[in-house]
C-alpha cells in the first residue's frame, strides 16, 4: 500500500510533465488501436466467411466467366447440398464516388446459402416475385436514404448502359460482423438484358457459390468439382469462401504489411517519449536515490520504484487511450464504411494495447534505472537539482 502511494506521488510529482506524457501515451495507444482495427477489418470478410461454402470460378482468373450449364454438373458432385451462382456487376450509383459491392445472383439459392442475411418474409416474397427487384443492406440503404419501393438506377462499368431496379427488400445482418453494404439483384434480369446487347456473353456466370453437406468434406468436394471440368474450355478453380476472400487480401498484402509496420512505429515513438520523461524524473531525483541508498535500500528497491512509476504513467495513459478507442472507432467506421463495411474493435486489439503499454513502460525504465543504480552515494548527494 505504502509502495503504491509512493509510486503515485512520484509519478504525479511534476504535474505538467505527467499530464503531457499521459496525453502522449493515450494518443499513441488510440492510434495503435485504430491501426490494428483497420488491419482486422481488412480480414473481416475472411472471418465472416463460412467454411461450409465453396466458391468456384474460372481457373484463368476472376474476370473470365463460366457457362451456366455447369450448374447441373456441380450439383451432381457428391457432398454438394446446394448451388447458387452470380456475376459481379460493378455498377456505379450516380457517379464513381458512390462505390458499393453489387452483383446479380440466383436469389432463392443465394439467400438460402446466406442465412446471415436476414430479410423480412414479406419483403423477401416481393423481391423474389419481381424480376427487376433488388436487395440492399441496411447500412447501404441508410446511406443513400433508400426506402422499399424506390427506383434505383445503376450505371454499368463492365456492362454498358443504365440499369433500372426497384428496391424490394432491405436485409440486416444476423450479427454485427455481417457486411450490410451489399446490393444484389436477379441474375435472370441481368441475363435477359445481356442477351440484347452482347448475346455472346449471355448464359454465363462469374462464380458459383456452393453449399456442402458437411464442412469437413469441403476440400474433397472442391477437388472433385475441379476434376469434373479438367481439360474443358473453361477450367474451374474451387476453394472455400474463406480462402477465396483471403486471396483478395493477399493481393493487397503490401498495404496491409505497411500498416502493420506503421502501427509498431507509433509504439517506438511513444517509447522514446516515455523514456525521456523517466530519464528526467530520475535525474531530478538522484539525490533521493542517494539518500535511499544511505538508508540501506538496495538496487531492487530502486528498480521497483522506477519501473513502478513508469507503469503507473503508461497504464494511466493506456487506459484513457483504450476507453477513447471505442467512440473514435465508431465515428471512423461511419466515415469509411465504403472501404471497411465492418469496423469493430476486437478483444485481441485491446490485449495488444495492454501488452504494448507494458512494453513501453519496461523499455522506458531500463536506462534510467541503470543510471540510478550505478550512481555513487557521494556523487548523488553532491548533485543539486
Amino acid at each position: 500500500m505504502m509502495l503504491l502511494k509512493i509510486l503515485f506521488r512520484n509519478a504525479f510529482h511534476n504535474k505538467l510533465r505527467s499530464f503531457l506524457t499521459i496525453l502522449g501515451i493515450a494518443v499513441a495507444i488510440l492510434a495503435f488501436g485504430l491501426l490494428r482495427t483497420v488491419i482486422s477489418s481488412f480480414y473481416a470478410g475472411v472471418e465472416a466467411a463460412s467454411t461450409s461454402r465453396l466458391v468456384t470460378r474460372n481457373a484463368i482468373s476472376i474476370i473470365f466467366p463460366l457457362p451456366i450449364s455447369y450448374t447441373e454438373k456441380i450439383r451432381q458432385v457428391e457432398g454438394v447440398r446446394m448451388v447458387s451462382y452470380g456475376n459481379w456487376f460493378g455498377g456505379i450509383y450516380i457517379n464513381e464516388k458512390n462505390f458499393f459491392p453489387n452483383f446479380c445472383v440466383e436469389p432463392r439459392t443465394y439467400l438460402a446459402l446466406y442465412p446471415e442475411f436476414v430479410l423480412e418474409e414479406k419483403q423477401k416474397k416481393a423481391f423474389l416475385a419481381d424480376r427487376k427487384g433488388a436487395v440492399a443492406g441496411q447500412k447501404l440503404a441508410a446511406k443513400y436514404g433508400w426506402k422499399i419501393g424506390d427506383p434505383i438506377t445503376l450505371k454499368g462499368t463492365i456492362y454498358p448502359g443504365n440499369w433500372d431496379f426497384v428496391l424490394r427488400a432491405i436485409y440486416t445482418g444476423r450479427d454485427n460482423t455481417v457486411d450490410e453494404t451489399q446490393y444484389f439483384f436477379h441474375w435472370t434480369y441481368f441475363n435477359e438484358e445481356i442477351k440484347k446487347i452482347w448475346p455472346r456473353y449471355a448464359e454465363q456466370v462469374g462464380f458459383y457459390m456452393i453449399g456442402v453437406t458437411r464442412p469437413d468434406i469441403a476440400p474433397d468436394v472442391a477437388l472433385n468439382i475441379d476434376k469434373a471440368f479438367k481439360s474443358s474450355l473453361a477450367e474451374t478453380l474451387t476453394e472455400t469462401e474463406k480462402a477465396f476472400n483471403l486471396g483478395f487480401i493477399a493481393m493487397a498484402e503490401a498495404i496491409v504489411t505497411a500498416i502493420q509496420m506503421v502501427s509498431f512505429v507509433v509504439i517506438f515513438i511513444i517509447m522514446a517519449v516515455v523514456a525521456n520523461t523517466m530519464a528526467m524524473t530520475t535525474r531530478e531525483r538522484t539525490g533521493d536515490y542517494a539518500i535511499m541508498k544511505t538508508l540501506g535500500f538496495g538496487a531492487t528497491d530502486i528498480t521497483i520504484l522506477i519501473f513502478g512509476e513508469a507503469l503507473v504513467v503508461t497504464l494511466t495513459g493506456a487506459a484513457i487511450g483504450i476507453v477513447l478507442t471505442f467512440p473514435v472507432a465508431k465515428a471512423f467506421g461511419q466515415q469509411l464504411s465504403t472501404y471497411f463495411p465492418v469496423f469493430l474493435v476486437s478483444a485481441q486489439t485491446i490485449y495488444m494495447d495492454i501488452a504494448a503499454a507494458f512494453l513501453i513502460a519496461f523499455f522506458a525504465a531500463i536506462i534510467p534505472t541503470r543510471h540510478a543504480i550505478r550512481i555513487r552515494i557521494a556523487d548523488g548527494l553532491r548533485r543539486i537539482g
Binding site: 505538467l16 510533465r17 503531457l20 506524457t21 496525453l23 502522449g24 494518443v27 499513441a28 488510440l30 492510434a31 491501426l35 481457373a59 484463368i60 482468373s61 476472376i62 474476370i63 473470365f64 460493378g90 464513381e96 450505371k155 454499368g156 462499368t157 463492365i158 454498358p160 452482347w198 455472346r200 481439360s231 474450355l233 478453380l237 476453394e239 480462402a243 483471403l246 486471396g247 493477399a250 493481393m251 493487397a252 498484402e253 503490401a254 498495404i255 505497411a258 500498416i259 506503421v262 512505429v265 507509433v266 517506438f268 515513438i269 511513444i270 522514446a272 517519449v273 523514456a275 525521456n276 520523461t277 530519464a279 528526467m280 536506462i367 543539486i384 537539482g385
Partner: protein, 392 residues
C-alpha cells in the same frame, strides 16, 4: 544587445544528450513515416504517369475505367484507324495497335504456404505496339514471333512470380505458352505485364473483340480534333484519352488512399513527438531558471531569451527531420508490388523521393519543433529577473 549566440542553444542540447537523442529519435520516426508514405504515393503516380507517352492516344469503350473492362469491335477499330489524325509509320502503315488485355491469375514467389494468386495483365500486341512504346526494351531472350504461342514477360513479373522464367511455360486457354524473352520497361506499368501476339491471345480466350486501341498522333495538337471525331461519331461508343492522362487516372484512387492514410497517421503520430519536444523544453527551462535570470541581468532582452529557446527546439526538429529523411531516402532502393485497386491487377513501383517531399517533411519537422517549443520558450521569457535569480 545582440542575440544569444547559436552555440548556446546547441551546447544545451549536447549537455543533456540522452534526452536530446530520445526526443530527436521520436521526431525522426514521425518524419520517416510521413515521408515514406508520401514517397509511396509519389512512386505509384510516377510509374503510371511514365507509362503513357504524351503523343499517344488510348481509345476505350465509353464509361470503361480500365482497358480490361473495355470492348471494341473490329468495325469500330477500322473506323478509328481511318482518322486523318493517326500518324503513319515509315512504311506507310498506320501507327495504331489494336490490343487485347486480360487478367490471369499467377502465383507469387515466396508464399508457398498459401495458394494466393495475384492478377497479372496479359496484353495481346501487334507489330505496331512496340514502336508506340519506346520504353520497352528486351533484356533477355528474344522477341516473340507473331502467330505463335510465345510470350515475353516484364521484369517485375519475372522477378516476383513463379514459373515465368525464360523457356518456362504457362498454361491458359487450353494452350501452352513459352516464355521466350524478358523485357525491361523501366519505371512503367508495362514492367508488370505479360505480352503475347494479339491474334493468338484472342483466339485462346475465344474473343472476337479488342479491348483498346492505341495510336500515335500525327502532331500533338491534333488531339482535340481526334477526340471530337471519335466521340461525336454516332457509329462509335468510344472515348479517347491522352495515354498519359489515361494512366494517371488509374493511379488516382490508390494515391489518394495512400495520401489520406499517410496524412492522418502522421498528424496523430506528430502529437506524440510534439509532446516529447514540449516535455524536453519545459524541463530545459525549469532546470535553467537561474541561468535565464543571469542572462536577463546581463542585459539580454525577453525576446532574446524567447528566441534562444525557440532555436533550441527548432534545432531538435531540424535534426529529427534530417535523420528521418536520411533513413527514408534508403527506401528508394526498395520496390514493392501490389494490386492496383482500380485496375485490379498487379503493379510494381519504387518509393520515390521528390524535392517536394523533402521540403514538406522538413517543414513538418520544423513545425513540430516550433509547436513543441513555443509554450516553454514563452515561460522562459516571461520570468522575472529577481525571481529567477532567487531559485538555486
Amino acid at each position: 544587445m545582440a542575440a544569444v549566440p547559436l552555440s548556446y542553444s546547441f551546447r544545451n542540447l549536447w549537455k543533456r544528450r540522452l534526452t536530446t537523442i530520445l526526443t530527436v529519435s521520436g521526431m525522426a520516426l514521425v518524419v520517416f513515416v510521413f515521408s515514406v508514405v508520401l514517397m509511396m504515393a509519389a512512386g505509384l503516380q510516377k510509374t503510371l504517369v511514365e507509362t503513357g507517352s504524351p503523343d499517344n492516344v488510348v481509345v476505350v469503350r465509353k464509361a470503361a475505367t480500365s482497358e480490361v473492362m473495355s470492348t471494341i469491335d473490329r468495325k469500330s477499330a477500322s473506323i478509328v484507324e481511318m482518322l486523318p489524325q493517326v500518324a503513319a509509320g515509315n512504311q506507310g502503315q498506320t501507327m495504331m495497335a489494336k490490343e487485347s488485355v486480360v487478367l490471369i491469375a499467377l502465383k507469387k514467389k515466396g508464399v508457398e504456404k498459401s495458394s494466393s494468386h495475384s492478377n497479372v495483365t496479359v496484353r495481346g500486341i501487334q507489330a505496331e505496339s512496340l514502336p508506340l512504346r519506346p520504353q520497352v526494351k528486351l533484356v533477355a531472350g528474344r522477341m516473340l514471333r507473331a502467330g505463335s504461342s510465345e510470350v515475353i514477360v516484364g521484369n517485375s513479373i519475372a522477378k516476383g512470380f513463379r514459373g515465368v522464367g525464360l523457356q518456362q511455360t504457362l498454361n491458359w486457354g487450353m494452350r501452352t505458352w513459352t516464355v521466350v524473352g524478358i523485357f525491361d520497361a523501366g519505371n512503367t506499368g508495362f514492367s508488370s505485364e505479360i505480352w503475347g501476339d494479339v491474334d493468338q491471345v484472342m483466339q485462346a480466350f475465344r474473343r472476337t473483340i479488342f479491348n483498346s486501341l492505341i495510336f500515335k498522333l500525327k502532331n500533338q495538337d491534333d488531339f482535340d480534333a481526334a477526340k471530337a471525331a471519335i466521340e461525336k461519331d454516332p457509329r462509335l461508343t468510344l472515348e479517347a484519352k491522352h495515354e498519359t492522362k489515361y494512366y494517371e487516372d488509374q493511379s488516382e484512387v490508390m494515391a489518394k488512399f495512400l495520401r489520406i492514410l499517410g496524412l492522418s497517421l502522421t498528424v496523430i503520430f506528430s502529437i506524440g513527438a510534439i509532446i516529447g519536444a514540449m516535455i524536453t523544453m519545459y524541463s530545459a527551462v525549469a532546470s535553467r531558471t537561474a541561468e535565464i535570470g543571469t542572462l536577463r541581468a546581463l542585459g539580454f532582452r525577453r525576446r532574446n531569451i524567447l528566441l534562444a529557446f525557440l532555436t533550441e527546439s527548432l534545432l531538435l526538429g531540424f535534426t529529427g527531420g534530417f535523420l528521418g529523411l536520411f533513413f527514408a531516402s534508403f527506401m528508394q532502393f526498395i520496390s514493392i508490388s501490389t494490386v492496383n485497386f482500380q485496375t485490379f491487377s498487379e503493379l510494381a513501383f519504387k518509393f520515390t523521393l521528390t524535392p517536394g517531399i523533402i521540403l514538406e517533411s522538413m517543414i513538418f519537422a520544423l513545425a513540430m519543433g516550433l509547436i513543441g517549443g513555443v509554450l516553454p520558450a514563452l515561460r522562459a521569457s516571461k520570468m522575472k529577473i529577481v525571481d529567477a535569480l532567487r531559485t538555486s
